[in-house]
């Protein structure tokens, strides 16, 4: 009968509706961890027990990293010195970054709005911009001497341009329609900047800040390689001269973690401040 054939058809259709992928529930982080785990296992297998290996096995690196942070294993000059060195590095990163930000963002806002300012300043900036930051290194050493100020100056120089350019672009690319809308809704001319241009440009300004901070960590290592006694970059360079490859790799990992954490913090701040922007999510 009709009902029988109908139910038969229904049972036949049922299996096709089950999505096989749903059967195995694998959390997303499992996939994220797979590649690092494979690489570390391969590294361990390739290096363990080989006396003349240039690269120490990850197990040695882990011990060194622990000792660098907390001491108690190797008891050498680097044992337990991570916190002090990290503080020195973090201070330099943020000092250079803030100096650059405090100049770049206001200057970018002015350049974005004023044709006269652009004509006066932009050609000079465009000439300076293609000079690689590392090429500034000798000059900053001559000007600021060997030591932390040269590192801070280098970070400030390198992070200045991405923050400046993103601010200028953010301001210049504000939808003219939004300004017209604000005008026709009765916004006083003097208030257009604060009420429309600044919020509209803020996602781009924020992108500049993120790029700048990422670059700051790159430049930290370059800056600290030039005879600065403390800091993670300095430790890496000293460890290389002492053939302490385990310490070199430990320092690299720590710099990576700090860079990652600082980017996360900026992202969190950005998400809170720019919650309205779908592209910031």
């Amino acid at each position: 009968m009709d009902t029988a054939s109908g139910s038969a058809a229904a049972t036949e259709l049922t299996p096709a509706r089950v999505e096989p992928a749903r059967a195995i529930a694998v959390p997303g982080w499992f996939y994220s961890l797979a590649l690092p785990v494979v690489l570390i296992v391969a590294w361990q297998l390739a290096t363990v027990g080989k006396t003349y290996s240039l690269i120490p096995p990850p197990s040695t690196v882990v011990l060194t990293a622990w000792d660098y942070a907390f001491g108690g294993i190797r008891n050498d000059t680097y044992s337990g010195t991570f916190a002090a060195n990290a503080m020195a590095s973090i201070t330099r990163v943020f000092a250079g970054f803030f100096v650059a930000m405090v100049i770049a963002i206001p200057l970018g806002l002015i350049l974005g709005r004023s044709l006269l300012a652009r004509r006066l300043i932009d050609p000079t900036l465009q000439f300076l911009r293609p000079i690689p930051v590392t090429a500034w290194l000798p000059l900053t050493m001559i000007l600021f001497g060997l030591g932390p100020p040269a590192t801070i100056a280098l970070i400030a120089l390198g992070t200045f341009f991405p923050m400046l350019l993103n601010t200028v672009d953010g301001v210049r690319l504000v939808e003219p329609r939004l300004i017209e809308a604000a005008e026709m809704l009765g916004t006083p001319k003097a208030a257009i900047f604060a009420r429309v241009i600044l919020p509209a440009a803020s996602p781009s300004i924020f992108t500049g800040i993120r790029i700048g901070l990422g670059l700051a960590w790159v430049l930290l290592v370059v800056g600290e390689m030039t005879g600065v006694p403390t800091g993670l970059g300095a430790n890496i360079m000293d460890a290389r001269q002492l053939s302490r490859t385990d310490l070199v790799i430990s320092g690299m990992i720590y710099i990576g973690i700090l860079g990652f954490l600082s980017d996360r913090i900026v992202m969190l701040i950005g998400r809170r401040a720019l919650w309205w922007n779908p592209n910031a999510r």
Partner: protein, 267 residues
């Protein structure tokens, strides 16, 4: 005798010429609008149609104060406006909502600029949220809304300023047919309730005949006023009626030569 109330919008011999400098330093001129004489009564719903390049957007932007006229006169409620202002609300085709403000904050924006007390701003916001049917979406942000909802916010935002004239530049042009019909109905309801003067640009003859008290046809190069057709059909209008289609025929005939010229130019 009482003085005759001022027309909402009057243009007298309005002319607009764009001048742009060529590379060799000489100037080229584009005559966008020529001798536009238009009087819009208070509370009147005017639709402006015409082939592309007829200057209909330019005319609206001049009334809005975004652009200046070259010669002639423009009066809004008897006064010559200087620049854009909240007495002439503009509804753009691409909405131009402030993406960093919620629906309610977008609507409250104008009253806030006017420096109204907080309680009054809140009251206006609620009233116009209700009028456009977006109470439930008050805390959403523009990127979370559909095109039709965004345009409702844009209309409410303008209404909250209690403008003398609402200028609408192809406001429903980017919307699908069903959403557009819904918004047309809403706009007519709002217009009947608020009795605002509306200048509405469209490229749809159907839309013009459906909405307007009077349809104004512009023809291009330079933009001139070609024809004015009063629409006296009772609302709601039956788009399938003979009278409706006769008016459409009249308007289509008026536009046809301009569209033919455009087609020939493109061919």
């Amino acid at each position: 005798m009482l003085a005759e109330p001022a027309a909402a919008v009057t243009t007298t011999r309005l002319d607009k010429t764009y001048r742009s400098q060529r590379r060799d330093g000489t100037f080229s001129e584009t005559h966008a609008l020529s001798n536009i004489n238009l009087t819009v009564a208070q509370g009147e719903f005017i639709c402006i149609i015409g082939a592309s390049g007829c200057g209909k957007s330019t005319l609206l932007r001049i009334v809005a104060g975004f652009e200046t006229l070259s010669t002639g006169e423009l009066y809004v409620m008897g006064k010559a406006p200087a620049g854009p202002g909240p007495d002439r609300g503009m509804v753009f085709q691409d909405y131009a909502l402030f993406p960093w403000l919620s629906v309610a904050q977008n609507i409250a924006y104008g009253p806030r600029q006017a420096g109204l007390p907080k309680a009054e701003v809140a009251e206006l916001t609620e009233r116009y949220l209700d009028m456009v049917g977006l109470r439930k979406f008050r805390d959403r942000f523009p990127h979370e809304l559909s095109g039709g909802m965004k345009q409702r916010v844009a209309i409410a935002r303008v209404l909250a300023n209690d403008p003398a004239v609402i200028l609408m530049d192809e406001p429903f042009g980017a919307l699908d047919a069903i959403t557009r019909n819904g918004l047309q109905e809403s706009l007519l309801q709002i217009w009947e309730k608020a009795r605002k003067t509306i200048l509405f640009i469209t490229h749809s003859v159907d839309e013009a005949v459906y909405l307007a008290d009077r349809v104004v046809v512009l023809s291009p190069h330079p933009g001139r006023l070609k024809l004015e057709v009063p629409v006296t059909l009772a609302r709601p209008r039956d788009i399938a009626s003979v009278e409706f289609n006769q008016l459409k025929r009249t308007l289509l005939d008026a536009i046809a030569p301009d569209i033919a010229v455009e087609a020939a130019a493109l061919a």
